[in-house]
Protein backbone atom coordinates (compact mmCIF):
# COMPACT_ATOMS: atom_id res chain seq x y z
CA UNK A 1 0.00 0.00 0.00
CA UNK A 2 2.66 2.46 1.07
CA UNK A 3 4.80 1.21 -1.75
CA UNK A 4 2.20 2.39 -4.21
CA UNK A 5 2.55 5.95 -2.95
CA UNK A 6 6.31 5.96 -2.87
CA UNK A 7 6.44 7.29 -6.42
CA UNK A 8 4.42 10.31 -5.40
CA UNK A 9 6.71 11.00 -2.42
CA UNK A 10 9.63 10.88 -4.81
CA UNK A 11 7.90 13.28 -7.18
CA UNK A 12 7.43 15.66 -4.27
CA UNK A 13 11.04 15.34 -3.28
CA UNK A 14 12.19 15.95 -6.82
CA UNK A 15 9.94 18.93 -7.18
CA UNK A 16 11.62 20.45 -4.11
CA UNK A 17 15.04 19.72 -5.59
CA UNK A 18 13.96 21.25 -8.90
CA UNK A 19 12.65 24.40 -7.31
CA UNK A 20 15.83 24.75 -5.33
CA UNK A 21 17.85 24.84 -8.56
CA UNK A 22 16.44 28.25 -9.35
CA UNK A 23 17.54 30.05 -6.21
CA UNK A 24 16.98 33.59 -7.41
CA UNK A 25 13.32 32.95 -7.69
CA UNK A 26 12.62 32.89 -3.97
CA UNK A 27 14.89 35.80 -3.21
CA UNK A 28 12.80 38.02 -5.48
CA UNK A 29 9.59 36.52 -4.20
CA UNK A 30 10.50 37.59 -0.69
CA UNK A 31 11.32 41.13 -1.79
CA UNK A 32 8.20 41.56 -3.88
CA UNK A 33 6.02 40.18 -1.10
CA UNK A 34 7.42 42.63 1.38
CA UNK A 35 6.94 45.55 -1.00
CA UNK A 36 3.39 44.42 -1.62
CA UNK A 37 2.76 44.25 2.05
CA UNK A 38 4.21 47.70 2.78
CA UNK A 39 1.80 49.22 0.26
CA UNK A 40 -1.14 47.52 1.88
CA UNK A 41 -0.01 48.52 5.34
CA UNK A 42 -0.09 52.19 4.42
CA UNK A 43 -3.34 51.81 2.54
CA UNK A 44 -5.06 50.40 5.61
CA UNK A 45 -3.26 52.87 7.83
CA UNK A 46 -4.78 55.77 5.91
CA UNK A 47 -8.20 54.13 5.85
CA UNK A 48 -8.21 53.86 9.66
CA UNK A 49 -6.67 57.29 10.06
CA UNK A 50 -9.19 59.09 7.90
CA UNK A 51 -12.18 57.31 9.41
CA UNK A 52 -11.24 58.44 12.88
CA UNK A 53 -12.45 55.15 14.41
CA UNK A 54 -10.21 52.57 16.02
CA UNK A 55 -12.56 49.75 15.10
CA UNK A 56 -13.99 49.25 11.62
CA UNK A 57 -16.42 46.43 10.93
CA UNK A 58 -15.45 44.84 14.19
CA UNK A 59 -11.73 44.80 13.48
CA UNK A 60 -8.95 46.92 14.93
CA UNK A 61 -6.18 48.20 12.73
CA UNK A 62 -3.69 45.69 14.04
CA UNK A 63 -6.16 42.85 13.53
CA UNK A 64 -6.59 43.89 9.91
CA UNK A 65 -2.83 43.94 9.50
CA UNK A 66 -2.44 40.48 10.97
CA UNK A 67 -5.31 39.26 8.78
CA UNK A 68 -3.84 40.66 5.59
CA UNK A 69 -0.37 39.48 6.47
CA UNK A 70 -1.48 35.94 7.15
CA UNK A 71 -3.75 35.77 4.14
CA UNK A 72 -1.01 37.04 1.91
CA UNK A 73 1.54 34.60 3.34
CA UNK A 74 -0.84 31.79 2.53
CA UNK A 75 -1.38 33.24 -0.91
CA UNK A 76 2.36 33.02 -1.64
CA UNK A 77 2.48 29.60 -0.06
CA UNK A 78 -0.08 28.23 -2.51
CA UNK A 79 1.60 29.58 -5.61
CA UNK A 80 2.55 26.29 -7.25
CA UNK A 81 2.24 27.21 -10.95
CA UNK A 82 0.30 23.98 -11.48
CA UNK A 83 -1.88 25.31 -14.28
CA UNK A 84 1.07 26.95 -16.01
CA UNK A 85 3.01 23.70 -15.91
CA UNK A 86 0.15 21.74 -17.46
CA UNK A 87 -0.47 24.37 -20.11
CA UNK A 88 3.24 24.55 -20.97
CA UNK A 89 3.31 20.79 -21.46
CA UNK A 90 0.20 20.90 -23.61
CA UNK A 91 1.64 23.59 -25.86
CA UNK A 92 4.99 21.85 -26.27
CA UNK A 93 3.49 18.37 -26.58
CA UNK A 94 5.52 17.17 -23.61
CA UNK A 95 2.17 16.16 -22.09
CA UNK A 96 2.49 12.94 -24.08
CA UNK A 97 5.33 11.87 -21.82
CA UNK A 98 3.13 12.46 -18.75
CA UNK A 99 0.38 10.36 -20.25
CA UNK A 100 2.54 7.36 -21.15
CA UNK A 101 3.72 6.99 -17.58
CA UNK A 102 1.67 4.63 -15.45
CA UNK A 103 0.73 7.10 -12.79
CA UNK A 104 -2.34 9.04 -11.94
CA UNK A 105 -2.05 12.43 -13.65
CA UNK A 106 -3.99 14.15 -10.89
CA UNK A 107 -1.92 12.64 -8.09
CA UNK A 108 1.35 13.27 -9.88
CA UNK A 109 0.42 16.93 -10.24
CA UNK A 110 -0.64 17.07 -6.63
CA UNK A 111 2.66 15.56 -5.51
CA UNK A 112 4.50 18.06 -7.64
CA UNK A 113 2.51 20.98 -6.22
CA UNK A 114 3.14 19.71 -2.72
CA UNK A 115 6.87 19.96 -3.38
CA UNK A 116 6.43 23.60 -4.36
CA UNK A 117 4.38 24.30 -1.26
CA UNK A 118 6.94 22.77 1.09
CA UNK A 119 9.66 24.76 -0.58
CA UNK A 120 7.60 27.95 -0.49
CA UNK A 121 6.83 27.36 3.14
CA UNK A 122 10.43 27.19 4.23
CA UNK A 123 11.99 29.64 1.85
CA UNK A 124 9.33 32.25 1.24
CA UNK A 125 6.40 32.08 3.64
CA UNK A 126 8.33 31.82 6.90
CA UNK A 127 10.84 34.58 6.09
CA UNK A 128 8.13 36.91 4.81
CA UNK A 129 5.99 36.18 7.82
CA UNK A 130 8.83 36.82 10.27
CA UNK A 131 10.02 39.96 8.56
CA UNK A 132 6.57 41.48 8.37
CA UNK A 133 5.75 40.61 11.93
CA UNK A 134 8.91 42.11 13.34
CA UNK A 135 8.64 45.16 11.07
CA UNK A 136 5.15 46.00 12.21
CA UNK A 137 5.28 44.64 15.74
CA UNK A 138 2.16 42.57 15.42
CA UNK A 139 1.33 39.77 17.75
CA UNK A 140 -0.57 36.54 17.39
CA UNK A 141 -1.71 34.43 20.26
CA UNK A 142 -0.98 30.81 19.52
CA UNK A 143 -2.62 28.07 21.46
CA UNK A 144 -4.63 25.01 20.59
CA UNK A 145 -5.88 26.87 17.53
CA UNK A 146 -2.45 26.34 15.97
CA UNK A 147 -3.35 22.70 15.40
CA UNK A 148 -6.68 23.61 13.86
CA UNK A 149 -4.92 26.21 11.78
CA UNK A 150 -2.52 23.58 10.43
CA UNK A 151 -5.38 21.26 9.56
CA UNK A 152 -7.39 23.96 7.84
CA UNK A 153 -4.27 25.02 5.97
CA UNK A 154 -3.88 21.52 4.54
CA UNK A 155 -7.51 21.52 3.48
CA UNK A 156 -7.08 24.98 2.00
CA UNK A 157 -4.14 23.72 -0.01
CA UNK A 158 -6.23 20.91 -1.48
CA UNK A 159 -8.87 23.41 -2.55
CA UNK A 160 -6.31 25.77 -4.02
CA UNK A 161 -4.64 22.92 -5.87
CA UNK A 162 -7.95 21.61 -7.21
CA UNK A 163 -8.82 25.01 -8.64
CA UNK A 164 -5.39 25.35 -10.25
CA UNK A 165 -5.59 21.83 -11.61
CA UNK A 166 -8.98 22.36 -13.19
CA UNK A 167 -7.70 25.51 -14.85
CA UNK A 168 -4.72 23.48 -16.03
CA UNK A 169 -7.15 21.00 -17.57
CA UNK A 170 -8.82 23.75 -19.59
CA UNK A 171 -5.56 23.96 -21.51
CA UNK A 172 -6.41 20.53 -22.94
CA UNK A 173 -9.03 22.46 -24.92
CA UNK A 174 -7.55 25.93 -25.26
CA UNK A 175 -3.79 25.27 -24.97
CA UNK A 176 -3.05 28.70 -23.53
CA UNK A 177 -4.50 29.57 -20.14
CA UNK A 178 -3.18 33.09 -19.89
CA UNK A 179 -6.54 34.86 -19.70
CA UNK A 180 -8.32 32.38 -17.51
CA UNK A 181 -5.47 32.12 -15.04
CA UNK A 182 -5.23 35.89 -14.64
CA UNK A 183 -8.99 36.03 -14.13
CA UNK A 184 -8.75 33.33 -11.48
CA UNK A 185 -6.06 35.26 -9.68
CA UNK A 186 -8.17 38.44 -9.60
CA UNK A 187 -11.31 36.63 -8.50
CA UNK A 188 -9.47 34.87 -5.69
CA UNK A 189 -7.75 38.05 -4.57
CA UNK A 190 -11.03 39.91 -4.45
CA UNK A 191 -13.34 37.28 -2.99
CA UNK A 192 -11.17 35.28 -0.66
CA UNK A 193 -10.23 37.91 1.86
CA UNK A 194 -6.67 38.29 0.66
CA UNK A 195 -7.12 41.93 -0.28
CA UNK A 196 -9.95 42.97 1.99
CA UNK A 197 -11.05 41.05 5.10
CA UNK A 198 -14.45 39.51 4.49
CA UNK A 199 -16.06 41.46 7.31
CA UNK A 200 -15.61 44.61 5.24
CA UNK A 201 -18.13 43.35 2.69
CA UNK A 202 -21.85 44.06 3.18
CA UNK A 203 -23.37 41.42 5.48
CA UNK A 204 -25.39 39.56 2.85
CA UNK A 205 -22.45 39.35 0.48
CA UNK A 206 -20.15 38.33 3.29
CA UNK A 207 -22.45 35.44 4.08
CA UNK A 208 -22.40 34.21 0.50
CA UNK A 209 -18.65 34.63 0.20
CA UNK A 210 -18.06 32.61 3.33
CA UNK A 211 -19.53 29.56 1.63
CA UNK A 212 -17.51 29.86 -1.57
CA UNK A 213 -14.28 27.92 -2.09
CA UNK A 214 -12.26 31.12 -2.22
CA UNK A 215 -12.97 32.01 1.37
CA UNK A 216 -12.38 28.40 2.32
CA UNK A 217 -8.83 28.83 1.07
CA UNK A 218 -7.87 32.01 2.91
CA UNK A 219 -10.54 33.36 5.19
CA UNK A 220 -11.05 30.16 7.16
CA UNK A 221 -7.43 29.45 8.17
CA UNK A 222 -6.80 33.10 8.94
CA UNK A 223 -9.98 33.37 10.95
CA UNK A 224 -8.93 30.39 13.05
CA UNK A 225 -5.77 32.21 14.01
CA UNK A 226 -7.17 35.63 14.77
CA UNK A 227 -10.53 34.85 16.18
CA UNK A 228 -10.19 33.64 19.76
CA UNK A 229 -13.94 33.28 20.31
CA UNK A 230 -14.62 30.36 18.00
CA UNK A 231 -16.86 27.62 19.34
CA UNK A 232 -16.76 23.93 18.51
CA UNK A 233 -19.72 24.51 16.21
CA UNK A 234 -17.80 27.22 14.35
CA UNK A 235 -14.94 24.82 13.76
CA UNK A 236 -17.33 22.17 12.64
CA UNK A 237 -18.96 24.49 10.11
CA UNK A 238 -15.65 25.75 8.78
CA UNK A 239 -14.15 22.32 8.32
CA UNK A 240 -17.37 21.09 6.73
CA UNK A 241 -17.25 23.89 4.18
CA UNK A 242 -13.65 23.07 3.36
CA UNK A 243 -14.28 19.35 3.09
CA UNK A 244 -17.31 19.92 0.94
CA UNK A 245 -15.31 21.91 -1.58
CA UNK A 246 -12.43 19.43 -1.58
CA UNK A 247 -14.73 16.53 -2.36
CA UNK A 248 -16.77 18.51 -4.84
CA UNK A 249 -13.72 19.74 -6.75
CA UNK A 250 -11.99 16.36 -6.77
CA UNK A 251 -15.04 14.67 -8.23
CA UNK A 252 -15.52 17.48 -10.72
CA UNK A 253 -11.88 17.25 -11.81
CA UNK A 254 -12.13 13.51 -12.25
CA UNK A 255 -14.89 13.91 -14.80
CA UNK A 256 -13.23 16.92 -16.30
CA UNK A 257 -10.05 14.91 -16.92
CA UNK A 258 -11.99 12.03 -18.42
CA UNK A 259 -13.50 14.37 -20.96
CA UNK A 260 -10.38 16.44 -21.55
CA UNK A 261 -8.23 13.43 -22.35
CA UNK A 262 -10.62 12.52 -25.14
CA UNK A 263 -10.32 15.82 -26.95
CA UNK A 264 -6.66 16.57 -26.41
CA UNK A 265 -4.57 16.52 -29.56
CA UNK A 266 -0.98 15.96 -28.66
CA UNK A 267 1.10 18.65 -30.35
CA UNK A 268 4.23 18.04 -32.34
CA UNK A 269 5.47 15.17 -34.40
Amino acid sequence: MLNKYKKYFLITKNSILTTATYRFHFFFSIISSILYFIIYYFLWYSIYNSSGNTILNGMTFSQVIVYICLAYSIFILFKTWTEWGISRNIISGQIMMDLVKPYNFHQANLANALGFVLFNFICITIPVFLIIFTMFNSTIIFGINLIFFAISLCFAFLISFSIDYSIGLTSFYTESIWGISITKEVVIMALSGTLIPLSFFPDSIELILKFLPFAAMYHIPVNIVINSTLSILDYFIMFSIQLFWIIFLIILNKYFFKHAIKVVTINGG
Binding site: K7, Q94, M96, L99, K101, N104, I261, I266
Partner: protein
Amino acid sequence: MKIIELEHLSKHFKVLERREGLKGIVKDLFKPRHKIVKAVNGISMDINQGEIVGFVGPNGAGKSTTIKMLSGVLKPTSGNLLINNYLPYKQRKDYVKNIGVVIGNRTMLWWDLAVIESFKLLKEIYQISDEVYKENLELYNKFFNLNALYSTPVRKLSLGQKMLCEIAASFLHNPKLIFLDEPTIGLDVAVKEKVRKLIISLNKIKKTTIILTTHDIGDIEELCQRIILIDHGKLIYDGSIRKFNQIFGAYRTLTLELGNIDEISIENINKEIDEVFKPKEPIILKKKENIWLTLTINQDDIKLMDIFNFLMKKFPVKDIKIEEIELERVIKEVYEGGLK
Protein backbone atom coordinates in the same frame (compact mmCIF):
# COMPACT_ATOMS: atom_id res chain seq x y z
CA MET B 1 2.77 -14.37 -31.78
CA LYS B 2 0.96 -11.20 -32.65
CA ILE B 3 1.45 -8.33 -30.26
CA ILE B 4 -0.10 -5.50 -32.25
CA GLU B 5 -3.27 -5.78 -34.26
CA LEU B 6 -4.45 -2.75 -36.16
CA GLU B 7 -7.57 -2.61 -38.26
CA HIS B 8 -8.62 0.34 -40.39
CA LEU B 9 -7.19 2.75 -37.88
CA SER B 10 -7.99 6.39 -38.65
CA LYS B 11 -7.42 9.73 -37.05
CA HIS B 12 -9.06 12.81 -38.47
CA PHE B 13 -8.34 16.26 -37.11
CA LYS B 14 -10.78 19.09 -37.38
CA VAL B 15 -8.79 22.23 -37.99
CA LEU B 16 -9.84 25.83 -38.27
CA GLU B 17 -9.22 27.15 -41.72
CA ARG B 18 -8.02 30.66 -41.12
CA ARG B 19 -8.93 33.42 -43.51
CA GLU B 20 -6.47 36.09 -44.44
CA GLY B 21 -6.24 39.65 -43.24
CA LEU B 22 -7.93 41.59 -40.50
CA LYS B 23 -11.37 41.03 -41.97
CA GLY B 24 -10.62 37.34 -42.03
CA ILE B 25 -9.75 37.30 -38.35
CA VAL B 26 -13.08 38.88 -37.48
CA LYS B 27 -14.92 36.46 -39.75
CA ASP B 28 -13.08 33.50 -38.20
CA LEU B 29 -14.24 34.64 -34.80
CA PHE B 30 -17.92 34.55 -35.68
CA LYS B 31 -18.15 32.05 -38.47
CA PRO B 32 -15.26 29.63 -38.20
CA ARG B 33 -14.62 27.41 -41.21
CA HIS B 34 -13.35 23.94 -40.46
CA LYS B 35 -11.67 21.40 -42.58
CA ILE B 36 -10.88 17.80 -41.85
CA VAL B 37 -7.28 16.65 -41.99
CA LYS B 38 -7.06 12.91 -42.47
CA ALA B 39 -3.76 12.38 -40.70
CA VAL B 40 -4.18 8.62 -40.56
CA ASN B 41 -6.63 7.10 -42.94
CA GLY B 42 -7.45 3.44 -42.51
CA ILE B 43 -4.22 1.66 -41.66
CA SER B 44 -4.24 -2.08 -40.95
CA MET B 45 -1.31 -4.20 -39.87
CA ASP B 46 -0.18 -6.97 -37.55
CA ILE B 47 3.11 -6.98 -35.76
CA ASN B 48 4.71 -9.98 -34.10
CA GLN B 49 6.53 -10.14 -30.84
CA GLY B 50 10.24 -9.37 -31.05
CA GLU B 51 10.12 -7.67 -34.45
CA ILE B 52 11.82 -4.39 -35.23
CA VAL B 53 9.57 -2.58 -37.64
CA GLY B 54 10.58 0.55 -39.49
CA PHE B 55 7.80 2.98 -40.03
CA VAL B 56 8.64 5.36 -42.86
CA GLY B 57 7.03 7.99 -44.98
CA PRO B 58 7.54 11.60 -46.01
CA ASN B 59 6.91 14.56 -43.69
CA GLY B 60 3.30 14.76 -42.67
CA ALA B 61 2.57 11.16 -43.67
CA GLY B 62 0.94 10.40 -40.31
CA LYS B 63 3.70 8.44 -38.59
CA SER B 64 3.77 10.39 -35.35
CA THR B 65 -0.01 10.47 -35.22
CA THR B 66 -0.03 6.67 -35.49
CA ILE B 67 2.59 6.37 -32.75
CA LYS B 68 0.46 8.60 -30.51
CA MET B 69 -2.51 6.30 -31.02
CA LEU B 70 -0.40 3.20 -30.45
CA SER B 71 0.85 4.72 -27.18
CA GLY B 72 -2.70 5.17 -25.97
CA VAL B 73 -2.62 8.94 -25.62
CA LEU B 74 -4.62 9.84 -28.70
CA LYS B 75 -8.11 8.60 -29.28
CA PRO B 76 -8.57 7.09 -32.74
CA THR B 77 -11.41 8.52 -34.81
CA SER B 78 -12.29 5.04 -35.97
CA GLY B 79 -10.86 1.56 -36.35
CA ASN B 80 -9.75 -1.20 -34.04
CA LEU B 81 -6.55 -1.38 -32.08
CA LEU B 82 -5.49 -4.22 -29.85
CA ILE B 83 -2.02 -4.26 -28.40
CA ASN B 84 -0.69 -6.80 -25.96
CA ASN B 85 -4.33 -7.67 -25.21
CA TYR B 86 -5.16 -4.11 -24.21
CA LEU B 87 -7.27 -1.44 -25.83
CA PRO B 88 -4.57 1.21 -25.50
CA TYR B 89 -6.81 4.22 -25.43
CA LYS B 90 -9.43 2.80 -23.08
CA GLN B 91 -7.04 1.06 -20.69
CA ARG B 92 -4.26 3.60 -20.87
CA LYS B 93 -3.08 3.44 -17.28
CA ASP B 94 -2.59 -0.32 -17.26
CA TYR B 95 -1.50 -0.55 -20.85
CA VAL B 96 1.39 1.91 -20.52
CA LYS B 97 3.05 -0.22 -17.85
CA ASN B 98 4.25 -2.51 -20.60
CA ILE B 99 5.41 -0.01 -23.17
CA GLY B 100 8.26 2.44 -23.53
CA VAL B 101 8.15 5.61 -25.59
CA VAL B 102 10.98 7.70 -26.96
CA ILE B 103 10.29 10.77 -29.03
CA GLY B 104 13.09 12.67 -30.71
CA ASN B 105 12.45 16.04 -29.19
CA ARG B 106 10.59 15.21 -25.99
CA THR B 107 11.89 13.76 -22.79
CA MET B 108 10.83 10.97 -20.49
CA LEU B 109 13.27 12.30 -17.91
CA TRP B 110 13.02 15.25 -15.55
CA TRP B 111 14.64 18.26 -17.10
CA ASP B 112 16.26 19.67 -13.97
CA LEU B 113 17.27 16.46 -12.27
CA ALA B 114 20.39 14.38 -12.60
CA VAL B 115 19.87 11.41 -14.90
CA ILE B 116 20.14 8.91 -12.08
CA GLU B 117 17.44 10.72 -10.05
CA SER B 118 15.14 10.38 -13.04
CA PHE B 119 15.96 6.70 -13.28
CA LYS B 120 15.17 6.24 -9.59
CA LEU B 121 11.84 7.97 -10.09
CA LEU B 122 11.05 5.77 -13.08
CA LYS B 123 11.94 2.77 -10.94
CA GLU B 124 9.15 3.71 -8.54
CA ILE B 125 6.68 4.77 -11.21
CA TYR B 126 7.02 1.48 -13.06
CA GLN B 127 7.47 -0.49 -9.83
CA ILE B 128 10.69 -2.02 -11.11
CA SER B 129 12.17 -4.59 -8.77
CA ASP B 130 15.63 -3.98 -7.32
CA GLU B 131 17.12 -6.90 -9.24
CA VAL B 132 15.81 -5.85 -12.63
CA TYR B 133 16.84 -2.26 -12.00
CA LYS B 134 20.36 -3.23 -10.98
CA GLU B 135 20.68 -5.66 -13.83
CA ASN B 136 19.69 -3.05 -16.39
CA LEU B 137 22.01 -0.39 -15.03
CA GLU B 138 24.87 -2.87 -15.19
CA LEU B 139 23.92 -3.77 -18.73
CA TYR B 140 23.87 -0.11 -19.80
CA ASN B 141 27.19 0.47 -18.20
CA LYS B 142 28.83 -2.58 -19.65
CA PHE B 143 27.88 -1.75 -23.20
CA PHE B 144 27.58 2.00 -23.28
CA ASN B 145 29.38 3.45 -20.31
CA LEU B 146 26.32 5.35 -19.23
CA ASN B 147 27.62 5.70 -15.67
CA ALA B 148 29.60 8.72 -16.75
CA LEU B 149 26.39 10.62 -17.49
CA TYR B 150 24.37 9.75 -14.40
CA SER B 151 25.21 12.74 -12.27
CA THR B 152 24.58 15.33 -15.01
CA PRO B 153 21.26 17.17 -15.01
CA VAL B 154 19.25 16.23 -18.09
CA ARG B 155 19.15 19.82 -19.36
CA LYS B 156 22.94 19.83 -19.52
CA LEU B 157 23.27 16.69 -21.64
CA SER B 158 24.10 16.99 -25.31
CA LEU B 159 21.46 15.85 -27.78
CA GLY B 160 23.23 12.56 -28.38
CA GLN B 161 23.87 11.86 -24.70
CA LYS B 162 20.26 12.65 -23.96
CA MET B 163 19.04 10.25 -26.61
CA LEU B 164 21.14 7.42 -25.17
CA CYS B 165 19.69 8.12 -21.73
CA GLU B 166 16.16 8.32 -23.13
CA ILE B 167 16.46 4.95 -24.79
CA ALA B 168 18.03 3.46 -21.68
CA ALA B 169 15.16 4.91 -19.63
CA SER B 170 12.55 3.48 -21.96
CA PHE B 171 13.96 -0.04 -21.53
CA LEU B 172 14.37 0.25 -17.78
CA HIS B 173 11.14 -1.54 -16.89
CA ASN B 174 11.66 -4.29 -19.49
CA PRO B 175 8.61 -3.32 -21.54
CA LYS B 176 7.26 -5.68 -24.15
CA LEU B 177 6.97 -2.95 -26.70
CA ILE B 178 8.88 0.22 -27.50
CA PHE B 179 7.93 3.09 -29.76
CA LEU B 180 10.75 5.22 -31.06
CA ASP B 181 9.76 8.32 -33.00
CA GLU B 182 12.81 9.60 -34.86
CA PRO B 183 15.38 8.45 -32.32
CA THR B 184 18.34 9.49 -34.48
CA ILE B 185 17.14 12.95 -35.43
CA GLY B 186 19.92 15.53 -35.24
CA LEU B 187 22.66 13.10 -34.23
CA ASP B 188 26.08 12.81 -35.83
CA VAL B 189 27.21 9.62 -37.52
CA ALA B 190 29.15 8.27 -34.55
CA VAL B 191 26.30 8.77 -32.08
CA LYS B 192 23.76 7.44 -34.57
CA GLU B 193 25.86 4.31 -34.70
CA LYS B 194 25.84 4.10 -30.91
CA VAL B 195 22.09 4.60 -30.70
CA ARG B 196 21.51 1.90 -33.31
CA LYS B 197 23.80 -0.47 -31.45
CA LEU B 198 21.92 0.22 -28.23
CA ILE B 199 18.56 -0.47 -29.88
CA ILE B 200 19.75 -3.64 -31.59
CA SER B 201 21.41 -5.11 -28.53
CA LEU B 202 18.45 -4.38 -26.27
CA ASN B 203 16.14 -5.96 -28.81
CA LYS B 204 18.37 -9.05 -28.92
CA ILE B 205 18.78 -9.37 -25.16
CA LYS B 206 15.23 -8.59 -24.12
CA LYS B 207 13.24 -9.68 -27.19
CA THR B 208 11.45 -6.36 -27.13
CA THR B 209 9.19 -5.48 -30.01
CA ILE B 210 10.29 -2.17 -31.49
CA ILE B 211 8.45 0.19 -33.79
CA LEU B 212 10.54 3.03 -35.05
CA THR B 213 9.99 5.95 -37.36
CA THR B 214 12.83 7.62 -39.13
CA HIS B 215 13.85 9.55 -42.22
CA ASP B 216 17.24 7.91 -42.24
CA ILE B 217 17.42 4.97 -44.63
CA GLY B 218 20.54 3.92 -42.72
CA ASP B 219 18.49 3.32 -39.58
CA ILE B 220 16.13 1.12 -41.52
CA GLU B 221 18.86 -0.89 -43.17
CA GLU B 222 20.73 -1.55 -39.96
CA LEU B 223 17.82 -2.09 -37.61
CA CYS B 224 14.72 -3.37 -39.30
CA GLN B 225 13.67 -6.67 -40.72
CA ARG B 226 10.42 -5.24 -41.86
CA ILE B 227 9.40 -1.90 -43.25
CA ILE B 228 6.04 -0.19 -43.39
CA LEU B 229 5.70 2.70 -45.74
CA ILE B 230 2.93 5.22 -45.34
CA ASP B 231 1.97 8.31 -47.26
CA HIS B 232 -0.96 10.66 -46.74
CA GLY B 233 -2.18 8.52 -43.89
CA LYS B 234 -2.40 5.38 -46.02
CA LEU B 235 -0.29 2.27 -45.94
CA ILE B 236 1.46 1.82 -49.27
CA TYR B 237 3.96 -0.94 -48.56
CA ASP B 238 4.36 -3.49 -45.82
CA GLY B 239 6.95 -6.18 -46.22
CA SER B 240 10.42 -7.45 -45.61
CA ILE B 241 13.38 -5.16 -45.84
CA ARG B 242 15.10 -7.75 -48.09
CA LYS B 243 12.57 -7.44 -50.83
CA PHE B 244 12.62 -3.72 -50.41
CA ASN B 245 16.37 -3.66 -50.75
CA GLN B 246 16.37 -5.92 -53.75
CA ILE B 247 14.37 -3.34 -55.56
CA PHE B 248 15.61 -0.08 -54.18
CA GLY B 249 19.06 -1.07 -53.04
CA ALA B 250 20.17 -1.04 -56.67
CA TYR B 251 19.22 2.55 -57.28
CA ARG B 252 21.83 5.26 -56.97
CA THR B 253 21.44 8.95 -57.47
CA LEU B 254 24.38 10.62 -59.13
CA THR B 255 24.74 14.35 -58.65
CA LEU B 256 27.28 16.22 -60.77
CA GLU B 257 28.62 19.71 -61.12
CA LEU B 258 29.33 20.38 -64.77
CA GLY B 259 29.88 24.13 -64.79
CA ASN B 260 27.70 26.18 -67.10
CA ILE B 261 25.40 24.12 -69.22
CA ASP B 262 22.16 25.07 -70.93
CA GLU B 263 18.86 23.25 -71.29
CA ILE B 264 19.48 22.27 -74.88
CA SER B 265 22.71 20.46 -74.17
CA ILE B 266 21.03 18.65 -71.27
CA GLU B 267 18.43 17.39 -73.69
CA ASN B 268 21.13 16.30 -76.07
CA ILE B 269 22.89 14.36 -73.34
CA ASN B 270 19.65 12.63 -72.46
CA LYS B 271 19.21 11.60 -76.07
CA GLU B 272 22.77 10.33 -76.25
CA ILE B 273 22.44 8.31 -73.05
CA ASP B 274 19.32 6.76 -74.50
CA GLU B 275 21.08 5.80 -77.70
CA VAL B 276 24.31 4.54 -76.17
CA PHE B 277 22.98 2.61 -73.15
CA LYS B 278 19.44 1.72 -74.20
CA PRO B 279 18.23 1.61 -70.57
CA LYS B 280 15.09 -0.33 -69.66
CA GLU B 281 13.89 2.56 -67.55
CA PRO B 282 14.64 6.01 -68.90
CA ILE B 283 17.61 7.70 -67.28
CA ILE B 284 17.00 11.39 -67.17
CA LEU B 285 19.52 14.07 -66.33
CA LYS B 286 17.83 16.97 -64.58
CA LYS B 287 18.87 20.32 -63.18
CA LYS B 288 18.67 20.28 -59.38
CA GLU B 289 19.96 23.50 -57.90
CA ASN B 290 21.65 26.09 -60.09
CA ILE B 291 24.87 24.23 -60.92
CA TRP B 292 23.96 20.71 -59.88
CA LEU B 293 22.64 18.07 -62.23
CA THR B 294 21.21 14.82 -61.04
CA LEU B 295 20.19 11.43 -62.44
CA THR B 296 19.00 8.17 -60.92
CA ILE B 297 20.34 4.86 -62.17
CA ASN B 298 19.19 1.32 -61.62
CA GLN B 299 22.44 -0.57 -61.19
CA ASP B 300 20.87 -3.88 -62.10
CA ASP B 301 20.37 -2.38 -65.49
CA ILE B 302 23.34 -0.13 -66.08
CA LYS B 303 26.54 0.36 -64.14
CA LEU B 304 26.89 3.70 -62.48
CA MET B 305 30.54 3.84 -63.46
CA ASP B 306 29.73 3.45 -67.15
CA ILE B 307 27.46 6.46 -67.12
CA PHE B 308 29.98 8.37 -65.11
CA ASN B 309 32.84 7.59 -67.49
CA PHE B 310 30.62 8.52 -70.40
CA LEU B 311 29.86 11.92 -68.91
CA MET B 312 33.48 12.46 -67.87
CA LYS B 313 34.63 12.21 -71.46
CA LYS B 314 32.21 14.84 -72.62
CA PHE B 315 32.28 17.39 -69.80
CA PRO B 316 34.67 18.85 -67.31
CA VAL B 317 33.14 17.27 -64.20
CA LYS B 318 34.05 19.47 -61.24
CA ASP B 319 32.44 17.60 -58.40
CA ILE B 320 30.28 14.52 -57.83
CA LYS B 321 28.06 13.02 -55.14
CA ILE B 322 26.66 9.51 -55.13
CA GLU B 323 23.63 8.91 -52.96
CA GLU B 324 21.13 6.19 -52.26
CA ILE B 325 17.68 6.68 -53.65
CA GLU B 326 15.54 9.27 -51.89
CA LEU B 327 12.40 8.29 -50.05
CA GLU B 328 10.22 10.47 -52.28
CA ARG B 329 11.46 8.57 -55.27
CA VAL B 330 10.78 5.24 -53.54
CA ILE B 331 7.22 6.27 -52.86
CA LYS B 332 6.75 7.28 -56.46
CA GLU B 333 8.06 3.89 -57.51
CA VAL B 334 5.70 2.12 -55.16
CA TYR B 335 2.77 3.99 -56.60
CA GLU B 336 3.91 3.11 -60.08
CA GLY B 337 4.04 -0.54 -59.18
CA GLY B 338 7.74 -1.05 -58.45
CA LEU B 339 6.97 -3.36 -55.55
CA LYS B 340 4.06 -5.27 -56.91
